[in-house]
């Protein structure tokens, strides 16, 4: 399945979109490398779908240009772009059977012998025996695969996926994520995937662009974004972060020392998104799974040099592989800690005095001038 046209990167240069006085997408520069699996991640209304539709040609940008490889396509109508979309609602043609749905794009381009290509594509998505069915006779997951097949059969330079898994239940969604990833590796086409599901974006994509309020907040590999968020929005939207408001006590060396309530915490200067200055404020972040928990009576067992915070367990929930604790601490009223259920300490119940400790290397610093709660619970918000 090799492509005859060398694709080239997708380049968005200063594209923006206004609807009247509302700005859906602020001027945006983005280069999506050829053959990559790229995710646009954000809450609804953040401009990710609008960005995707501008690449597809379904929306015309208010400013800026869209290029595919060397070719500028900003003002080309969708039917002239070598780009195909998998729509959120699938948008399968209800009056055509699965075979004709998949053959639609090929026929429109005047390709006479579509049989082999359509059958191969239906095999790829494991729907060979459903060719004669109508879309409404298939399950949601099968319809989703038809939508993928219908787009991919055209060997587009770029495949755009608009929340393609949104309508599926969790188990099927996990399965389809792996399936899409497999197909992408197999066909080697650039995939641009829009989603509000951070787990989905991280599982599938090579590069994730986190969008918020019509802007890209941060762009990078999933692990990079997760470990080194540059803003509170990214820290909170991608997984969970414990953010502690702290005062910088010592700065300038390779480590920064900060203080919050009675705790003294260290973090590498390289992991600060701002340049901390002594006496200034800093938001100190640590992921819940990096933290270890011991009962206050065992405080001496904590190795020297680790960041330590005292607190009281206010809630715990057992979820099988791990237990999630919420700790009330002087530095932050709701610290989250995920502990693997390897050896469970029976004393760690709500009300127990505990000591939280973690490797200072796992601590990151954010600019304190931001909203500490940005990105929390924004998933359900409409705009």
């Amino acid at each position: 399945m090799t492509d005859k046209t060398a694709g080239g990167d997708v380049r968005l240069a200063g594209i923006s979109k206004h609807y009247g006085s509302f700005t859906a997408v602020h001027p945006l520069d983005l280069t999506i490398p050829q053959g990559s699996f790229f995710a646009l991640l954000g809450a609804s209304g953040c401009g990710k779908t609008t960005t995707l539709r501008m690449i597809a040609g379904l929306e015309e940008p208010s400013t800026g240009t869209v290029s595919l490889g060397e070719r500028e396509v900003t003002h080309l109508p969708p039917y002239k772009r070598p780009v195909n979309t998998v729509f959120q609602s699938y948008a399968l043609f209800p009056h055509l059977d699965i075979y004709e749905n998949v053959a639609f794009g090929l026929r429109r381009r005047g390709i006479k012998s579509v049989k082999k290509q359509v059958e191969d594509m239906l095999e790829l998505v494991e729907l060979g025996q459903f060719a004669q069915r109508k879309p409404h006779q298939l399950s949601g997951g099968q319809q989703q695969r038809v939508a993928v097949a219908r787009a991919l059969v055209n060997h587009p330079q770029v495949l755009l996926l608009d929340e393609p898994l949104g309508a599926l239940d969790l188990k099927l969604r996990r399965q389809m994520q792996l399936e899409l990833k497999r197909i992408q590796t197999e066909v080697g086409i650039t995939f641009v995937h829009v989603t509000h599901d951070q787990e989905e974006a991280m599982t599938m994509a090579d590069t994730v662009a986190v969008m918020n309020g019509g802007r890209v907040e941060q762009l990078g590999a999933p692990a990079e974004l997760y470990e080194n968020p540059k803003t509170t929005f990214v820290a909170n939207f991608l997984g969970t972060s414990n953010l502690i408001e702290a005062e910088v006590l010592e700065a300038g060396g390779s480590d920064v020392l900060v203080g919050s309530a009675d705790a003294r915490l260290r973090l590498p200067a390289a992991r600060c998104s701002t340049t901390p200055t002594a006496g200034g404020k800093l938001l100190v972040g640590v992921r819940p799974e990096k933290i270890s928990l011991v009962h206050a009576a065992d405080e001496d067992t904590v190795a020297a040099g680790r960041n330590k915070v005292r607190g009281t367990i206010s809630a715990s929930s057992f979820i099988g592989v791990s237990t999630q604790y919420v700790i009330d601490s002087p530095v932050c009223p709701e610290l989250e800690v995920y502990v693997q259920n390897i050896e469970r300490d029976a004393r760690l119940v709500p009300g127990a005095e505990v000591v939280l400790h973690w490797n200072p290397e796992h601590t990151f610093g954010l600019d304190a001038a931001q909203d500490i709660d940005a990105g929390i619970e924004t998933v359900e918000e409409g705009a």
Binding site: A56, G57, L58, P77, P78, Y79, K80, V83, N84, T85, F87, S89, A91, L92, F93, P94, H95, F104, G105, R108, R109, K134, H136, R150, A151, N154
Partner: protein, 309 residues
């Protein structure tokens, strides 16, 4: 010991009312059907039987009519009035095609492009129903009057030369010609075409248009391959709602036509009310019904709308 027995006793005691309730429940659909069935029985089935019996009677108004199973009436009616039958089907067919050609773009516009004007436009479509059918048709008599502005314009544009060549008009007259009758039919039945078309177009998910565009279909191809096939239920019901009443119509031919444009409706009307030949009138009605029924059945089979979602 008595506690466990109580539910069982209660169940036994409650059994007969439960049974009666379920019976009553099963009868509910029939109760709901009853008014409609009674209505149809009195105002449709009984008149039909009466007409059927009239069509095989012989006699005269003075001597009274007797059922003589005289089926010859059907044959006589058909051989005598087949030109009017053919004319009815031709006029109704032409009017239906014109309604489709005029109505489709309008329904498309209302469904996809009208935005906030949608409801206003729909009200305008049905606005003519606020005045009587008869008055509106009479108004067309004025519009198409000899020497009137419409005729003048059509004459200047040489449209009348073309319609005259087609046998639709004579000389520089429009009134009392086939064109006038077809125009009247088209006008009067247009809303019956637009409304079902609108309903089926409006149901089409506009994302399908985007999907077709995304799959290399230019707008005209999208219309041909996606929009039009999906609007077929509306096309079928619109054409039926136009063609069936138009083929039995007599008001338009009566008011806008002449003796040369008489449709079968006019014949039936005059047989009943002027010539008072009830058997022939009844036979003509049944023949018309049969023709329409056969044509509609073939049409629906061909259109294959049951295949559409």
């Amino acid at each position: 010991m008595s506690a466990p027995a109580t539910p069982a006793q209660a169940a036994v005691a409650a059994e007969p009312p439960v049974h009666r309730a379920s019976l009553r429940k099963r009868l509910v659909p029939y109760w709901l059907l009853l008014p409609g069935i009674l209505w149809l029985l009195v105002f449709f089935v009984l008149p039909m039987i009466y007409q059927a019996s009239t069509s095989v009677q012989t006699g005269s108004l003075e001597e009274g009519f007797q059922v003589t199973w005289h089926f010859q009436t059907y044959w006589d009616a058909l051989t005598e009035y087949y030109p009017q039958f053919l004319r009815s089907l031709l006029y109704a067919g032409t009017a239906t095609v014109l309604c489709l050609l005029l109505g489709y773009p309008l329904a498309y516009l209302i469904a996809f492009k009208a935005g906030r004007w949608r409801n206003l436009l729909l009200v305008l479509v049905i606005a003519p129903f606020f005045t009587s059918f008869l008055i509106r048709t009479l108004a067309w008599k004025t519009i198409l009057a000899d020497g009137g502005p419409v005729v003048g314009v059509l004459n200047t544009l040489h449209v009348l030369d073309v319609t005259s060549w087609l046998g639709m008009t004579q000389g520089d007259r429009v009134l009392a010609t086939p064109l006038a009758v077809v125009c009247g039919l088209t006008y009067n039945f247009l809303p019956f075409m637009i409304l079902p078309l609108y309903t089926s177009l409006e149901r089409i998910d506009t994302r399908l248009h985007e999907a077709a565009g995304d799959l290399y279909a230019r707008p005209s191809t999208t219309f041909r391959k996606v929009t039009f096939p999906l609007s077929m239920p509306g096309v079928v019901s619109g054409t039926l709602l136009t063609f069936i009443p138009a083929s039995g119509d007599y008001v338009n031919a009566e008011l806008l036509g002449s003796t040369d444009t008489r449709m079968i409706g006019n014949v039936i009307q005059s047989q009943y009310l002027r010539i008072l030949d009830y058997p022939t009138a009844a036979a003509l009605s049944f023949i018309l019904m049969a023709i329409v029924l056969i044509m509609v059945t073939i049409y629906i089979r061909r259109a294959g709308t049951e295949d559409l979602v």
